[in-house]
């Protein structure tokens, strides 16, 4: 596209520095990246940061409010849950669960969706019709219900949640890569590779795929946020990650019975969850703006 349009001569700084400069100028992207980096660091260093063992129960220390309440103590900065487990420590370890599920799901669904989208976009015709049909069918299946029904039969666990969400959330990957591939299919560099006798797998993987990367990153971030929210929902309903694993959705579920008198038990994990998803969404939206061709927004 940009090769044919007349544009001002670009300054002679390397592309990555221009990209970086533009990224730093995008407020949402910067804020999102900072949030995401902080939570990722918290997850990574959870064993060193956590003041207590997230699984250690203390019967005498049940439902202590956070430190800023009159009855709170500095021993448990964010209080304790109904089993006397330190809330802050559980939050830190819960970040691992959320991020891991987000990444793993995005990887599985990305693999499925990208394969379908690239094939549909590149070959068109009947392949495209079949893939479009599969996408339509997938969209017609209610994700939460199907996931709940299956998880209840198989038994909910971290692994089951990842596989289920991975198998259910590939639709956006397929739709985006399909239309991006359609646009690139007839590009000159693809024709050049073809005339040099490159094999189709080579063209798809080495020529086409690198050009889809920025679009894929955007979808991957949004899908990651989607998966994290769905994991929390499944865990909240009792069919996701199982206790005593610290999952933020599970923490809200466990606190539900106490929320009328101790609202912080659901407010804290919910806010953290929303902040993480907000951060990821800001990064996704920001990357989309920044990777758009010059002068477009």
């Amino acid at each position: 596209m940009s090769s044919t349009s007349l544009s001002l001569p670009l300054p002679s700084v390397p592309a990555w520095r221009r990209g970086l400069r533009r990224s730093l100028g995008h407020r949402g992207l910067v804020i999102g990246s900072v949030i995401l980096a902080l939570i990722a660091l918290a997850a990574l260093f959870a064993p060193w940061l956590a003041p207590h063992d997230p699984y250690a129960q203390e019967v005498t220390q049940r439902l202590i409010p956070p430190a800023w309440y009159a009855k709170g103590s500095w021993e448990h900065l964010l209080g304790t849950d109904k089993l006397g487990r330190d809330y802050l420590s559980r939050l830190l370890f819960g970040a691992r669960v959320s991020l891991f599920i987000g990444l793993a799901t995005a990887l599985i669904s990305g693999l499925i969706g990208t394969t379908m989208g690239v094939l549909a976009g590149y070959y068109g015709g009947r392949v495209d019709a079949v893939v479009s049909y599969i996408v339509t069918t997938r969209l017609a299946m209610p994700v939460v219900l199907v996931a709940l029904a299956t998880a209840s039969l198989v038994g909910g666990s971290l692994k089951v949640v990842i596989v289920l969400l991975g198998v259910l959330l590939w639709d956006r990957f397929a739709i985006v890569t399909r239309s991006a591939t359609q646009q690139l299919r007839d590009a000159e560099f693809i024709a050049a590779a073809k005339s040099l006798g490159a094999s189709t797998p080579y063209i798809l993987l080495r020529e086409l795929l690198p050009n889809l990367m920025s679009a894929l990153t955007v979808v991957a971030t949004l899908e990651m946020a989607h998966a994290i929210l769905l994991e929390a929902t499944l865990s909240f309903l009792g069919l996701g990650v199982q206790p005593p694993t610290p999952s933020w959705g599970l923490m809200v579920a466990e606190g539900k019975a106490y929320m009328f008198f101790q609202p912080w038990v659901i407010v804290i994990p919910g806010v953290v969850l929303a902040v993480l998803v907000l951060g990821i969404n800001l990064v996704g939206d920001g990357l989309r703006d920044v990777s758009a061709p010059d002068g477009r927004n």
Binding site: L139, M141, A149, V252, G270, A274
Partner: protein, 305 residues
């Protein structure tokens, strides 16, 4: 146009069939139904008895064709748990979910369209920023948590509305807000984008040049064209909301279709689960069909797809 509608209808019907096959397979392959129904402590003889009693010993393909044959006549068999037929249970619960979905969509549209229009007219102003903020926050909050927070704030704190149940219309306000907030951001963004598109077009410039009042230009000329895709998206969003209402219904103990599905899942009442999945899929397919036709009526280029 007619051939387009016909083609879409065919696709919709075959998608329904595929969803039926998949939801049937999913439930029959992801575990042994007879063991699940009989319970983990029951003996092998009991499991066998259950298997025969519920017809689960027949070949899978016979079970499926029997089920599908009755399903097209809207007969989903009997519940494993209650004495009622599945259709009786669904008939009792469906109105609650439809009411919830309808009110939620209405709320979402009432907020999204004016906000989207204002954001487009006053682009980059504080209205635009505020609407973006509302959308971004809405997409980040987990819906079960937002629903619980609404209870804490409006039912427990301010005591304006009841906590849970579905005996009066007041019971539907909080659940509808909780459900509708998730459809709102995308509707608003589409309204804004559509309005920006239209406001920059030649015929709007002509309308302005004719000396029409700004209000007339916005409402009579611009919004009219920008609104059809928004309505189409609203139809699709309603389909998503019906599927997602299980979470909201469980938080507010609304006795709707979602709650029925959720209870049936925990009771291993699979005829009901299968029926609900299929019914929600049928609603979604019907609503996307409406959306496609709306878009095609507006834009003839869509019909060739």
């Amino acid at each position: 146009m007619l051939s387009y509608v016909f083609r879409r209808l065919l696709v919709g019907l075959s998608v329904m069939l595929t969803v039926a096959v998949i939801s049937f397979m999913l439930l029959h392959l992801s575990g042994d139904l007879a063991t699940a129904i009989a319970g983990p402590e029951s003996s092998a003889a009991d499991v066998e008895k259950v298997r025969v009693q519920y017809g689960l010993d027949r070949p899978m393909i016979t079970q499926f064709t029997d089920w599908l044959g009755s399903a097209v006549r809207l007969d989903f068999g009997r519940s494993f748990y209650f004495q009622n037929t599945v259709m009786e249970l669904v008939g009792e619960r469906l109105p609650v979910t439809l009411k919830l979905g309808g009110v939620a969509l209405l709320l979402a549209v009432i907020v999204a369209i004016p906000l989207g229009v204002l954001a487009a007219i006053y682009r980059d102003s504080w209205v635009d920023r505020l609407s973006l903020l509302v959308a971004v926050v809405g997409q980040a909050m987990p819906n079960f948590w937002f629903a619980l927070s609404l209870i804490l704030l409006f039912a427990v704190g301010l005591k304006w509305l009841p906590v849970a149940g579905n005996t009066s219309w007041q019971h539907f306000i909080l659940p509808a807000v909780a459900l509708g907030y998730y459809a709102m951001p995308s509707l608003m963004r589409l309204t804004r984008a559509g309005m920006l598109d239209v406001l920059g077009s030649d015929y709007i410039r002509t309308a302005r040049a004719k000396g029409l009042s700004p209000a007339r230009v916005v409402f009579k000329h611009a919004l009219r064209n920008a609104i059809i895709p928004v309505m189409a998206l609203a139809a699709v969003e309603l389909g998503f909301m019906l599927g997602g209402s299980v979470v909201i219904e469980s938080v507010y103990s609304l006795q709707g279709l979602g709650q029925l599905a959720w209870d049936s899942i925990s009771r291993n009442d699979y005829p009901v689960v299968q029926a609900v999945v299929l019914i929600i899929a049928v609603f979604y397919i019907g609503l996307t069909f409406v959306a496609d036709v709306l878009n095609a009526a507006l834009d003839p280029r869509m019909r060739t797809r």
